[in-house]
């Protein structure tokens, strides 16, 4: 498993100001974890996500959003904890 420099946890909907600032602060060895309203980014046609992207599966299920593995890897809460442990730094937006 590649090490993660910064894990960005984003629970804001795509239209929220913090959403843009989070995306613009992503760097190559970083990872993005979409939770709560953040998972809407996976069905927003106005957006293309790049790099290492994860999404929390209970939030995907609640919103009936099909996980698209080519865009984001769906993980559960335990994997989320493991992700935060693996990252050198975590930012919650």
């Amino acid at each position: 498993m590649a090490s993660i420099r910064t894990l960005h946890i984003l629970n804001k909907r795509p239209g929220h100001p913090a959403f843009k600032s989070c995306l613009s602060s992503l760097e190559n060895q970083d990872a993005l974890l979409l939770t709560e309203n953040g998972v809407l980014a996976l069905v927003d046609k106005g957006l293309t996500l790049e790099g290492c992207v994860y999404a929390l599966s209970p939030d995907l299920k609640a919103r009936a959003i099909p996980g698209d593995a080519s865009v984001a890897q769906a993980i559960d809460y335990d994997e989320m904890v493991a992700l935060t442990a693996r990252a050198q730094r975590v930012i919650s937006w």
Binding site: N37, K45, K61, A62
Partner: protein, 116 residues
């Protein structure tokens, strides 16, 4: 006195979307003509097979499906927002009327309420 309640909050992220729904249903319960317009992030309330138990919340698709029985006159969804979030008749719950919101839909209502 016709009322239109605008649902533009993303589902489950906070409570304001659910509060707007409760308000609409209470208006309907008191025989006030009320309709709902889902727009922006709010159209995501309309996706089928939501399993909100996964985040220990209640799904709303059953209340929405029964909305007309409760007296809600119409459930509108903004076309552009549906397109943006990849929603169509197959992925949305039944009973939704697609609407072009800048075509004067709001003009038909005496009260337009948005809790965003």
């Amino acid at each position: 006195m016709k009322t239109l309640v605008i649902m533009n909050q993303a589902p489950y992220g906070d409570w304001s979307g659910r509060e707007a729904l409760d308000m609409a249903f209470s208006l309907a319960a008191f025989d006030q003509p009320v309709a709902l317009l889902f727009t922006g992030d709010g159209v995501n309330w309309l996706r089928r097979e939501q399993e909100a138990a996964a985040i220990s919340q209640k799904a709303v698709d059953r209340n929405l499906a029964a909305a007309t029985i409760f007296g809600v006159t119409a459930l509108y969804a903004d076309q552009q927002s549906c397109h943006r979030f990849g929603l169509d008749q197959h992925t949305m719950i039944a009973g939704i009327t697609l609407a072009d919101t800048n075509a004067g839909l709001l003009g038909e209502y005496d009260h337009v309420i948005s809790l965003s």
